[in-house]
């Protein structure tokens, strides 16, 4: 049994605890005065302290030896480090919370110039990937675990041969966001006569970059400034969910979404075939089949005066195109057209339209382009040809999994490469086909940098010693190039040479470095904007297909491209639209389902024309989807790389092919057959209508602006039998702005990580036993074909007259004087009466002892939150541990708690800043101001239970003709 390591350390521990609490603990008196009861208290405290210090495995001991405690490190007190998320190539800034030497929670970094404080679901789940049992423990050579020296010796010998023979060496990577890592890779490749870096993205935006090569002479992706757009038109671009930079886009988008923001509310029109998260937030949606997207753009371009030929379009769509063209015309200079198709003709049309409408310089920033998708599909296609021809002698895989995510041609060609090296963290599908495995650090263990948008540079610093015998990719490339340099040194050298020189504000490198490290990011200069070139739009006009089903492949908000499919948090995250977990499926419109006689869960066999692969997928009937579209999510059907992803869904990546050099599968005609049997999908929400209940209030913009007071709800809350609760120094309240919330679900995973909420698995979700404390209810209003969508985050409403509190026989759920409805886990006997009596159904019961067997995975738990045992009820606590921490800090500093210091996890990382939280007793706090908003309403306020969470009416920027103004609910 481990106890404290030294008496002094223990005394220090006791002292710091003493300061945290108002009631003095009986310590510090002479031992002789200690009574029997005090003795037990004392030894209990010692035991607790021992536990707190003893809770570490061999692994952590290696990470942070306490023999010589680091300066400024107090056990039990969290430390925050600014770093950069490595979950995808968007490069959001994060603040990592480290407790006793291990990162336990990631949050958005408000100082980061691109993400500005937001973090998505994938980012929130990253700590789980750090402590993943399925990570490679060290290098492997031909399937056997070896030492780095052995691996390096073998590789050096082979590389030396290749240097001599001039064999082709390629590094294949997803977008390398880190300039230092790119330099290292290029440095390594430079030692060969024929070395080349091939960047290719799984969810590619290569056609977009290629379009700018034609229109501006430079392969680039502009940085879209959504906050500048009065009118946003999205065409098959899920920019709030999965496209390029969802967090940054959501942050910018939300700045203009709502009637009381500093600048007028923007209007958002989405043209799409499936119902994406972005489409679900649009004020207007136009449904079209995938093959109609390019003709639609052509029509749009023609209406806007561009000389392009166009394919035929149904009259209804042609009229829509004309209408949108008029609107774009009306917002000239302040509109924005976004297109997510990986189609060079479509992207060139979009680039030229945006130029013609004068969006460059306002909403389309070419001076500081986005560097988040640098991949070029054409180079990948060339690589596959090279490999198939036996011309590639060595291929190094970095941050990509091509065997899984690229067309089957890659896999067969890959086998012809004699030397296959993988730097992947897990033994994924591609690593399994490699001869040499040289696992990289997890990004939380590594020194890295990032430049997501030109000029916005940020740093990533390690939060702990590497857990395993992995090696930083920068060091690996350095070692293989014969110039072994520690990653930190390489990073500093690169910054001194290539980053520091791009700014003039700070004259001294050390100061610049330290500031950037502390803040996590810095602004430097970037190159000039390229100039527009007139030209003919490439490609032939496309004709819309008139009938038959067409395929739409898309990425889900939770799983993205599938690289994190082994993270259970993400598998269990309900899709914001379908609310399904642990599966992909064939989404079919209600009309198509009726026509084909399909119901939710029926099996359907799909095969794109010209493909051999047929997938059998369960049907999800998707309101709002185009009637000829069948949508299938990518990122599922993993066969390696972590147990949680195995056998979940089907892999649709092989359906993609290179169409004129760009990876796509859109608009491919589908062969559709009925499958045998049904599948019970694990959905967290089965009922999609509001049943005429006023749970969500909506209003059109114009009537609201005419009379904001008209938004105020009329009904009065009912009286209560019991009197008011007395309130102490604080009374916490939360307001959620439904106009701003996009339903991105980052908060759901953030809450899960912060509060140690278990993942229960597919079967238990089927039994409706998911444990999420915070869920996002999604309702459809209006018709099935063209529904309105509402996302309503639902969490414990911390009622003042809580129905749950009255019914608990053992007082396991009680009211705090700060207005919190507290759940006392160790008092709970589990009658479930409270959950039954909760009108919001936000209480969650521990049906089983959820497994926490993995010592490694347990390291990711938040030590401030109890891990609940079987038979106990739990629910949202408003992150009471964070409120306590903020209060303790304020108390230790001898001051009042400031507004905005105590933030629940959901609020902190909301990319849309839709959540306001604070002390409603402080008249100057932000929450007190928001509580006076006429748009504010309570869900089920008429029950008289006084919820502390309220919502702001969802304002839609629609013309009242299309929807009756002031119309509430469904």
């Amino acid at each position: 049994m481990k106890t404290w390591k030294s008496l002094g350390e223990r005394r220090g521990m006791v002292r710091s605890r003493k300061a945290e609490f108002e009631e003095e603990l009986p310590v510090g008196e002479s031992v002789r005065q200690i009574s029997r009861r005090d003795f037990f208290r004392f030894s209990g405290l010692g035991f607790a302290a021992g536990l707190a210090l003893g809770c570490k495995s061999k692994v952590v001991e290696k990470a942070m030896p306490y023999l010589n405690a680091r300066e400024g490190l107090t056990p039990g007190v969290a430390q925050w480090y600014a770093t950069t998320c490595g979950g995808c190539a968007a490069g959001c800034g994060v603040l990592a919370r480290s407790r006793d030497g291990r990162p336990v929670k990631l949050e958005g970094n408000p100082d980061h110039p691109v993400s500005r404080g937001g973090l998505c679901a994938i980012g929130q789940a990253q700590t789980r990937g750090l402590y993943d049992e399925d990570r490679l423990r060290g290098p492997k050579l031909a399937g056997k675990a070896v030492d780095w020296t052995v691996l390096d010796a073998d590789l050096q010998r082979r590389f030396a041969d290749l240097r001599a023979s001039g064999g082709a060496v390629r590094v294949l990577a997803g977008t390398i966001l880190s300039p230092t890592l790119r330099a290292a890779a290029q440095g390594f490749l430079g030692t060969f006569k024929d070395g080349r870096l091939v960047e290719a993205d799984t969810l590619s935006a290569a056609a977009l970059a290629a379009a700018y090569e034609r229109t501006h002479g430079q392969r680039m992706i502009p940085h879209y400034r959504l906050e500048e757009a009065d009118l946003l038109v999205g065409l098959e671009a899920d920019f709030l969910g999965t496209w390029i930079d969802p967090v940054g886009f959501t942050r910018a988008y939300a700045e203009r979404r709502g009637p009381d923001k500093p600048r007028p509310m923007s209007k958002h029109i989405q043209v799409e075939s499936g119902l994406s998260l972005t489409g679900s937030n649009a004020d207007e949606r136009v449904r079209l089949a995938p093959s109609e997207a390019v003709p639609f753009l052509e029509a749009l371009a023609r209406h806007l005066g561009l000389a392009v030929e166009g394919g035929a379009l149904p009259t209804a769509l042609a009229a829509k195109a004309r209408g949108i063209a008029h609107e774009l015309e009306a917002h000239r200079g302040h509109g924005l057209l976004l297109c997510g198709l990986n189609d060079p003709r479509a992207q060139e049309l979009v680039a030229r339209i945006n130029h013609a409408l004068g969006h460059e310089g306002t909403t389309v920033d070419l001076a500081r382009p986005s560097l988040q998708k640098r991949g070029d599909d054409r180079t990948l296609e060339a690589l596959v040809r090279e490999m198939a021809g036996g011309k590639v002698a060595a291929l190094v895989l970095l941050g990509c999994n091509p065997v899984y995510e690229q067309p089957a041609a890659f896999t067969s060609a890959f086998a012809k490469v004699p030397l296959r090296v993988s730097l992947a963290l897990t033994e994924d599908e591609s690593a399994a086909a490699c001869t040499h495995l040289a696992p990289d650090h997890h990004w939380l263990e590594a020194w890295r940098d990032a430049e997501p948008v030109a000029g916005a540079v940020s740093l990533a610093q390690p939060l702990l010693q590497p857990l395993f015998a992995t090696r930083d990719a920068v060091e690996s490339f350095g070692a293989w190039a014969g110039r072994p340099v520690p990653a930190l040194q390489a990073l500093r050298e690169h910054w001194k040479a290539a980053v520091f020189s791009r700014q003039k504000a700070v004259g001294d490198f050390e100061t610049f470095w330290n500031e950037a490290l502390q803040k996590g990011a810095a602004q430097v200069e970037s190159g000039p904007a390229p100039r527009y070139r007139e030209g003919r739009v490439e490609g032939a006009p496309r004709a819309a297909r008139k009938e038959g089903y067409e395929l739409l492949l898309y990425a889900k908000v939770g799983l993205g491209d599938g690289r994190h499919a082994h993270l259970p948090f993400l598998q269990e995250l309900p899709d914001p639209i379908t609310k399904a977990t642990w599966d992909n499926y064939a989404q079919v419109s209600p009309a198509a389902a009726a026509k084909l006689g399909l119901e939710q869960g029926d099996l359907l066999r799909l095969r794109p024309e010209g493909h051999a692969l047929e997938l059998e997928l369960p049907v999800v009937v998707q309101p709002g989807q185009d009637d000829r579209t069948m949508a299938v999510a990518l990122g599922y059907g993993r066969t390696a790389g972590g147990k949680s992803g195995l056998g979940v869904g089907k892999n649709a990546y092989p359906w993609r092919t290179f169409a004129s050099g760009f990876l796509a599968a859109e608009a491919v005609p589908l062969q559709v057959r009925r499958g045998q049997g049904r599948v019970d999908l694990a959905c967290t929400q089965d009922h999609h209508s509001l049943e005429g209940r006023e749970l969500v209030r909506e209003m059109a913009l114009a009537p609201y602006l005419r009379d904001p007071a008209s938004a105020r709800p009329h009904e009065q809350p009912g009286p209560s039998v019991y009197g008011e609760h007395p309130h102490g120094a604080h009374r916490w309240a939360m307001v959620i702005d439904l106009s701003a919330c996009t339903g991105c679900s980052g908060c759901v995973v953030g809450c899960q990580v912060e509060n140690n909420i278990p993942v229960v698995g597919r079967d238990e979700v089927r039994r409706k036993r998911e444990m999420h404390w915070l869920r996002i209810d999604r309702y459809y209003t209006g018709s099935e074909a063209e529904p309105g969508v509402v996302h309503q985050p639902m969490l414990c409403q911390q009622c003042d007259q809580a129905p749950c509190e009255n019914v608990c026989p053992v007082l396991a759920t009680v009211h705090s004087e700060e207005g919190l409805n507290q759940q006392v886990y160790n008092r709970c006997v589990g009658t479930r009466y409270c959950a039954n009596n909760c009108p919001y159904k936000v209480r969650r019961f521990n049906w089983w002892e959820y497994p926490h067997a993995s010592e490694l995975e347990r390291l990711g738990f938040n030590p401030d939150v109890t891990v609940r045992s079987r038979g106990v009820m739990e629910k949202c606590s408003f992150c009471v541990q964070r409120l306590m921490e903020a209060k303790i800090t304020a108390k230790n500093e001898g001051r009042e708690l400031k507004d905005g210091e105590a933030l629940p996890a959901c609020m902190q990382s909301c990319p849309a800043q839709a959540i306001v939280f604070g002390d409603m007793q402080d008249p100057d706090s932000r929450i007190s101001q928001v509580l006076r908003d006429p748009k504010r309403f309570l869900v089920l306020g008429e029950l008289g239970i006084g919820p502390a969470v309220s919502y702001l009416t969802k304002i839609r920027n629609i013309t009242p003709e299309t929807n009756q103004g002031g119309h509430h609910g469904a």
Partner: protein, 466 residues
């Protein structure tokens, strides 16, 4: 026979009236003598049980074992073995609880209220009915314990002095009221039953053949000597306890109904619940007494003690309470409509037309339609017909609780959380097990203690000179 207005029958009813309504018919058939009564009532406790009894016991013990296995699974693995979910937090567990508490109502009603109302026909059935009450309450009592997530801490729900400082029970919680109501009911019923048993225990003691049996019975008969003073005190105590038990008949199910009535859940939050539940409890309790008595009288050969007149009297109670229950169903719908509350309206429409409509219509068919056959005297006096109809009532009353609990919970306020519930095998096994427990206890009772209150029956024998 000349009728005089002053002549009263043994029931205290004017003789003329008694004849008109059949009250002057003997309560016990077969011209029994005191000795005969003693011999026939105590015989089962003194003989080796017949093979039939052992076979039935084997069946009930098997049911009990199945239930014990299911409870073991629940306790060791967790409530996850049940079909409950985040939306439906109670289903079979509390359904069974309320069902068994309801069954437990008839015994006290028969022994206490009918005693106070001088309904002397109760004498042949009160002992068995009270025993049934106790066994039903024992069955009921297991469910609040095993339905807890951490049943080993169930004692926290009792207000006992402890060293946990301010930790105490929540007197606002109807579950706590339940604990108090059920435990009070059990203790009073047990005492009442035991006091009523004392004269018969003394008889049993006097007839005992082994020393051990005599010693044990001597202790439990509290030195009964049959003196006038003993009888006088006995009757005073019995009367007092009858008075004490009477309000409990009403209070227990009133409080059980408040588990639902004090909540905010549409379909539960209704002021009609207390009378509705009490009527339902009497309804189901009498139905279960009838079911058991019809079996017992034929198996134990007690047709002359439990006559068709007894059965008929009880069917009338079933008919009356069945109509009260039917009225309550209708009133609930009216109130839901009249309230204008959309949630309330939806719950009731959903009950009748939603995914659990089969359960609702089973309930209506069993509880409202089947008792209507009791309008016919032929049905009221034909044991096999009564038996079938009371089985229906038992099924219907189980479904009533299931309908109230599950249909109200599964679609309450927020449509996003709506879910359906399906029981698992474990839950069904626990229900079977509770029947196993009930019947096993009853079977053992019939062989250990006199099933009929011999001392009381002797008081209503008509043909014997006093």
């Amino acid at each position: 026979m000349a009728h005089d207005a002053d002549v009263l029958t043994a029931n205290g009813i004017p003789a003329a009236e008694a004849e008109r309504y059949g009250h002057n018919l003997p309560l016990i058939d077969g011209n029994k003598t005191y000795r005969q009564v003693t011999e026939e009532v105590f015989a089962p406790t003194e003989r080796r049980p017949p093979l039939r009894w052992w076979l039935v016991l084997a069946v009930t013990l098997s049911m009990l074992s199945l239930g014990a296995w299911a409870v073991f699974q629940t306790l060791t693995r967790g409530i996850g073995t049940w079909g409950l979910n985040r939306t439906v937090g109670w289903a079979f567990d509390i359904t069974n609880f309320v069902f068994w508490v309801g069954i437990g109502h008839a015994g006290t009603l028969i022994s206490a209220i009918l005693f106070l109302f001088r309904q002397r026909w109760r004498t042949s059935i009160n002992r068995a009915a009270e025993a049934m009450t106790l066994f039903a309450v024992m069955c009921a009592g297991t469910f609040p314990i095993i339905h807890m997530g951490r049943p080993w801490l169930a004692f926290w729900a009792t207000p006992y002095p402890n060293t946990r400082g301010s930790l105490w029970v929540n007197f606002k919680s109807p579950l706590l009221w339940d604990v108090v109501a059920i435990s009070t009911y059990f203790i009073i019923s047990l005492t009442f039953w035991y006091i009523g048993l004392i004269p018969d225990l003394a008889t049993q003691r006097d007839r005992a053949k082994t020393k051990l049996k005599r010693t044990i019975l001597n202790i439990f008969s509290l030195g009964w000597n049959g003196s006038n003073r003993t009888w006088s005190r006995y009757e005073t105590v019995y009367m007092l306890l009858a008075g004490l038990s009477t309000p409990l008949v009403v209070s227990v199910h009133t409080i059980v109904s408040m588990d639902f009535a004090t909540s905010v859940i549409p379909g539960w939050h209704a002021t009609i619940f207390p009378p509705y539940f009490v009527a339902g409890a009497v309804f189901s309790g009498f139905a279960m007494v009838l079911t058991l008595m019809i079996i017992a009288r034929s198996v134990m050969g007690l047709e002359e003690y439990i006559t068709t007149r007894h059965l008929e009297a009880m069917t009338k109670v079933v008919l009356a309470t069945g109509m009260i229950v039917g009225m309550a169903y209708a009133t609930e719908f009216f109130t839901a409509w009249y309230s204008g509350n959309p949630y309330e309206r939806y719950v009731f429409l959903n009950r009748a037309l939603g995914p659990y409509q089969w359960a609702y219509w089973t309930m209506v068919g069993c509880n409202v339609l089947s008792p209507q056959f009791f309008w016919f005297k032929k049905v009221r006096t034909t044991p096999w017909m009564i038996f079938i109809l009371t089985i229906f009532v038992n099924i219907g009353m189980w479904f009533e609780r299931f309908v109230i609990i599950v249909t109200s919970l599964h679609r309450d306020y927020l449509p996003s959380s709506w879910a359906t519930y399906r029981p698992t095998f474990i839950e069904v096994a626990i229900l079977i097990g509770s029947f196993g427990l009930f019947f096993t206890l009853f079977l053992v009772f019939t062989r250990v203690l006199p099933m009929i209150a011999a001392s009381e029956v002797k008081g209503v024998l008509k043909n014997v000179e006093h």
